[in-house]
Symmetry: C2
Subunit: 360 residues, 2 copies
């Protein structure tokens, strides 16, 4: 088992990474010092893993209150969040009752936000079961729900007490979701870890074949990158923003196409292509660099062209995004392959040109 | 002008207390470094003070986005909170846009929770306009909304950058609201400041007559007490719980009677009488002590008997309250007049007896 520590002073917490951790009562018990715990999951994940987690908790003397939500990004709303609150209040949960999120990023983001708000904060544990949530959303304490006018607009910074990363849960993950998760893995290589990018270029097929050791390595190295960034900048006032490579464009794609049509990772891949093209227009990347980025995404089966929403619509959607500061678009761009920067030097016509060039 | 500092490390902030502060652009400007600011207020307070605050902000070069909510505790809900989010998103507010709450505790609690959640946190300023919000809710960073199953169940700890306490706003406060606010003022004397209680016993009539100097003194001393407690225990893991004297019983009264029937301060006064009676049953207060508590509340025009909901209903409602730990009721009681303790020694039959004795 690998263990990483996210260093955030009194809010520090461990990430345990291995196969089969769902059965490890010894890892959960130190963080669940209560007679009962809430497990928030969804209709897809519950039949696969809820009973096992329940058995493990019961072994540790903890009885489980399950909250089973509908599945899907379109349910990442206040209405669904309220289902969690109703269950917590219905079961008379106390502020000391731990809440465990068992599922992908949607469950983690909603479970975390519910834990942050219920009685102003209850202990929170992440048990991520998608590649995206293993390498990204479960680490770092961002929680949120969507608003009809924008993704992740309502939320909190709220750190978990523990992340239990059971790689074996990836066995049941649909192919398309695995590929979407790879977009965020590749992202770490692009923004700050060029050696990891080289490793990915050599091992992509093994990851796609779900080779367990390769997956453990990729999750571990991704989490290590994310943990470093988060430790340096918990509330995204600086370096942490670099994790949003491709995301401002990506969120525009997700919103513009209607939540759920494009997976988050797919939108991030296409968005990263626009960001790469813009970096080329600014003279930072060569055409070969852009081609290298395109190749790795395309080998991972991810979209490398963006949907043709029209430049005006992209810009409108991006202005709603929270990466706007004093009205000027601040974007994460690539200074080189392996080094991202946050910059507002791109003029609107250049942004528009990059979008045009990358759209179908 | 008096200025107090709430000492919370990098989250420290000043409380300015005086008459006429709504006009002081110089005090607001250092905390509103943006081209626009949101002012959240309600239909009652807006006609009284919104234009003045707007003029002051405009003098500082800040344009105002007003959000005018319906008035009342029954609107302290998710639906109303969403009206704030709709306005913020509609006006393309950024995470750097400051949100100013202008009103009583309901506006402060909702405005603060909206500021905590919008894009995971925007700068927040409190401009309290009721006695209760001046002496209690605007200081300390507790924000919340209600849930049908319990008061203040959903919220966040989120500190303001500034509290602007303009005592002149009390001129227009309805008599009943002024008296309700006095319940929280008296509370500070009862739980930790016996000398202040003696001062209150001598100056209560002046406060009721809205003598400005007396009000400034009472607000200042109340805020100083609250600031000390909050600085020592921001997230209510210890001493801060003592601020809830009378509140567990009070919340049961508020919920049991239907939100809004009893004012918060009225419920706290009656709840404090039950807590005092229970403290007497435990041998901590004398009958004379209880009488002293009754006299000061009754001189302030506050209820000193609780509504007859029945003991079973009280206990049921109290179990929903967040002051329950591991199933046992932890209550704030009085060791002596001027010194509160958090204790779970009271047996359920004693709690029931105290309720019976204090009910109509
Ligand atoms: N908080 C953050 O820092 C952060 C970072 C990135 C993304 N996100 C958020 O994460 C969300 C996307 O997360 P996601 O990609 O995990 O999507 P998801 O949670 O919707 O999961 C994808 C699908 O896989 C299913 N599933 C989950 N685990 C499975 C398993 N082991 N076997 C079979 N099926 C399984 C889910 O039920 C769902 O249908 C977005 O809402 C995004 O905004 C948050
Ligand atoms: N956050 C905390 O730490 C904390 C502490 C105590 C209470 N609270 C909360 O505060 C709320 C009660 O606050 P409140 O007593 O201020 O009630 P409130 O906000 O409802 O205000 C009382 C009434 O006075 C009106 N009003 C406000 N200012 C006025 C003015 N200057 N002139 C005329 N009318 C005015 C309001 O519109 C309202 O009708 C409750 O929801 C309670 O839960 C929070
Ligand atoms: Zn992402
Ligand atoms: Zn109170």
């Amino acid at each position: 088992m690998h263990t990483l520590q996210v260093s955030l002073g009194e809010r520090s917490y461990p990430i345990h990474i291995a196969s089969g951790l769902l059965d490890r009562a010894d890892l959960l018990a130190p963080h669940v010092k209560a007679a009962q715990a809430v497990v928030v999951t969804n209709e897809t994940v519950a039949p696969l893993y809820l009973q096992r987690l329940k058995n493990t908790l019961e072994k540790a003397g903890v009885s489980v209150i399950p909250v089973i939500l509908p599945d899907g990004e379109r349910f990442k709303t206040w209405e669904t969040l309220n289902l969690i609150f109703d269950a917590l209040l219905g079961a008379h949960c106390e502020r000391s009752t731990p809440l465990i999120a068992l599922g992908g990023g949607v469950i983690g983001d909603m479970g975390g936000f519910a834990a942050a708000c219920y009685q102003r904060g209850m202990p929170f544990i992440q048990v991520p079961t998608t590649l995206l949530s293993l390498v990204d959303s479960s680490v770092g304490g961002k929680t949120a729900i969507n608003h009809p006018l924008g993704k992740n607009m309502i939320g909190a910074f709220y750190q978990p007490r523990l992340v239990l990363a059971d790689i074996a849960t990836l066995d049941t993950l649909p192919e398309r979701e695995l590929r979407a998760g790879l977009a965020e893995v590749i992202k770490y290589g692009l923004i700050r870890d060029p050696a990891f990018l080289v490793w990915l270029e050599s091992n992509l097929e093994k990851l796609l074949a779900r080779d367990r050791e390769s997956l453990i390595y990729a999750v571990h190295r991704s989490c290590a990158n994310k943990a470093e960034v988060v430790a340096a900048d918990e509330r995204e006032s600086g370096e942490r923003a670099l994790l949003n490579l491709g995301h401002t464009f990506g969120h525009a794609i997700e919103t513009g196409m209607g939540y759920g049509a494009w997976l988050h990772g797919e939108a991030v891949a296409a968005g990263t292509m626009i960001a790469s093209e813009l970096s080329r227009l600014l003279g930072w990347l060569t055409a070969d660099d852009v081609e290298r980025v395109r190749r790795i995404f395309s080998r991972a089966g991810l979209p490398v062209v963006a949907p043709g929403l029209g430049v005006a619509r992209y810009l409108e959607l991006m202005r709603h995004d929270k990466k706007v500061q004093d009205g000027r678009l601040r974007l994460v761009l690539l200074r080189s392959v392996g080094q991202a920067v946050l910059s507002d030097v791109a003029r609107e016509d250049q942004i528009g040109e990059a979008i045009e060039l990358m759209c179908t």
